[in-house]
Symmetry: C2
Subunit: 429 residues, 2 copies
């Protein structure tokens, strides 16, 4: 891995951020056509695209109870147990995110409150392909169900034979997904946003996907809500001399294998550690199944930055606002409160990032590419919505009416003033 | 007002929703040019546009302490007191929205938690014009400050003389805005998103604006976060025979005066009430300052819908998901929990919507055009972000490692597995 000094930080940062700069104009036009066609023609358009892009001629889009049963039978017992345990841990964490409606009850005749209701209909997108991710199903479906979403629909592209991978269906069963449809890509997103004869319209769509899925989500945003447009994955490790270089190398590689655009950074004040980690990465890289992807990712977006001290390392980390941040220093909890911008913080040398991907409980859908400065991990909050509630008695309204009229008149809105005044005129009807 | 039966509901709904369908392609191109120019040329581009669109040749964009002082002196004492009282009420409500970071502390050696941090830099947009809205300043700035935002920047377009209206500056002082810049339109949004020599880059932009502002916000979404793209205002009143038709008429008109695209609906099972309200609206309309706007809005998007009973009225209201919903029925609290989709619910006949616009406490920035099905009033939540935190001891990681490996191997990610395994191999270094 390239080792650089913190004085070169600005250049490194723009390289890393440039991953988000690709120009997708051509794909956008294609996606626009697909979305429009599905909006206008519903099922027939969806089926055409599924035949064209997934190579599957479907007679029925919805996964049947028999298909679910068969997939469940075929899933190895050990994987079912592992998924159920992970689901339990994820559910327990997300239960803590639930909020109550509240009411301000301090003054006679005045109630103001905030009601929490689940979003009624939600769609989750799960990518297909040869290595499907059951963890994606758990991380999207569980917070939705904890929030109380009643109609939870999942879509995922089928293989050429029209089947969905067993482990995806098993995860959906464990997570409590209500209905599953075999459709992917921009056509799937459009179907969820507008509804078709078969696929129900939802109010919000979450879940990762390829560039077609991402652009389709962006296009339907406003018609429905979306979670976020996830960028390529990234890890930032802050380490000092106390850290084990083999662990660091392994954790950097666990990001790098995801995607050629993934970014893996080590920031450390220790030159010695920098050198050792760099060598250890090369050793471990050679053994990986996805070594080509990992090597390319490290070449382009993997860097070791040497800082003056740990404080400078923390400052840089806050400016980068990484998706995953590992604190591998002697006293890691000393620095937890100094981290202002990050998706998730992994504290200490025995908290590798994959623990968070699969098991620990917090969501693995995290803000990428610097967006942790303003956005948050996927959570129960993403599947509820709030409604304000206000009640005033006539007495209470009378007390504040002059204050309201003073402001409404300064804004020149006479009908607003009138709506207050009329309640204190003599009744004429 | 037009009186229709609930059997015609579908047609009414598509009319109301069509308000969001305008085609802004030409404006979008203009906005793209403005955003690009400001991104590339900073202050000089901003100053040019301010001269061109606002007619103001500015020497200095930032409002000075002296200007603030002068505006404060010139603001009538009665308005200052009213704004301070409203600010107090708004602040008290939003304080209740603050959340604590949490930690799951149930198991030895395992900590998972959710940290809450304010977004560090936020920009709020306040429209200019001849009737500026100090309430917009309070409703955007107060939740940001309650959340703990340190750098709160406000932008608003200047008048031809280069001045900002006194009541806007007075409201900014009361709300605790840190810096104010005289810039509006798409150029203002671009300046906040990218930063210029003078105007600091922020991480999130909130606040209403005209179509140029709305499209610019949509374009920079992703670079920064935005609150929402607010559509035209709307009110939906559910009433029965017990309701006062004069109050209903006044409240319908208080929305209609906002904008020709505003929508005002009454849904009632009472034919008699429908007739009386319709006549009363005509009587009150004649007296309004903004009667042309209100009349046009009612003609296009004002409707009275007669339902079979109150339950049907509630069902329609949930399907419309109005920004403001007034419950003017004999037992209003009986129905509060039946309202699933609305921005804010105003309970009973003495809770007119302008009470919420200015004073009661809940935010007046609310989801419009049906988006209350998936989005929420502006709140403290919009000015914070969450970071997950995970800590496992070596013992704790050992307990769960086989579960993690089972899943990571089913996903084909060997570097993920390796990052767990390496922690349990004999140390080689």
């Amino acid at each position: 891995m390239k080792i650089l000094r913190s004085s070169q930080y600005d250049a490194i940062k723009s390289e890393i951020l440039s991953r988000g700069d690709l120009d997708y104009k051509d794909i956008n036009v294609t996606v626009e056509e697909i979305v429009k066609n599905v909006k206008e023609n519903g099922d027939s358009a969806v089926l055409e695209y599924t035949a064209k892009f997934d190579g599957a001629e479907l007679e029925r889009m919805e996964v049947t109870a028999e298909e679910m049963e068969r997939a469940w039978e075929r899933t190895p017992e050990s994987l079912k147990i592992a998924l159920a345990e992970a689901a339990h841990s994820i559910r327990r964490f997300h239960e803590r995110q639930k909020r109550n409606s509240f009411m301000d009850n301090t003054t006679k005749g005045k109630i103001t409150g905030q009601l929490i209701n689940p979003i009624e209909k939600v769609g989750i997108y799960v990518p297909g392909g040869k290595s499907p991710y059951p963890s994606t199903v758990l991380m999207n479906a569980i917070p939705a169900k904890v929030a109380g979403v009643e109609d939870l629909v999942m879509i995922t592209p089928p293989g050429k034979t029209g089947e969905i991978m067993d482990n995806i269906l098993a995860a959906a069963k464990i997570a409590g997904v209500d209905r599953i449809f075999k459709v992917g890509g921009a056509q799937g997103i459009a179907a969820l946003a507008y509804g078709t004869q078969t696929i129900p319209k939802v109010y919000k769509i979450t879940g990762p996907g390829n560039i077609y899925v991402a652009l389709a989500k962006k296009q339907v945003y406003g018609i429905v809500d979306i979670d976020m447009i996830a960028g390529p994955s990234e890890i930032l490790i802050i380490a000092d001399d106390s850290a084990n270089p083999r662990y660091i190398a392994a954790d950097l590689l666990s990001q790098a294998e995801h995607d050629e655009l993934a970014s893996s950074l080590l920031i450390t004040p220790s030159e010695k550690l920098a050198e050792t980690v760099s060598k250890e990465v090369d050793i471990q890289l050679a053994e990986l199944t996805k070594k080509e992807i990992a090597a390319k990712s490290l070449e382009n977006y993997g860097r070791i930055i040497i800082t003056e001290d740990l404080d400078e390392a923390i400052d840089l980390a806050n400016d980068i606002a990484a998706e995953h941040l590992e604190l591998m220093v002697a006293e890691p909890f000393l620095y937890v409160n100094s981290i202002k911008n990050a998706g998730a913080v992994f504290v200490g040398e025995n908290t590798p990032e994959p623990l968070g991907d699969y098991y620990a409980g917090p969501n693995h859908t995290l803000p990428t590419n610097g967006t942790a400065k303003f956005s948050s991990p996927l959570s129960v909050d993403d599947f509820i919505k709030k409604t304000s509630v206000i009640y005033y008695s006539k007495e209470a309204l009378k007390e504040v009416k002059d204050t309201i009229l003073e402001i409404s008149e300064s804004e020149g809105l006479t009908a607003h003033s009138n709506s207050i005044r009329i309640r204190f005129e003599e009744e004429k009807l």
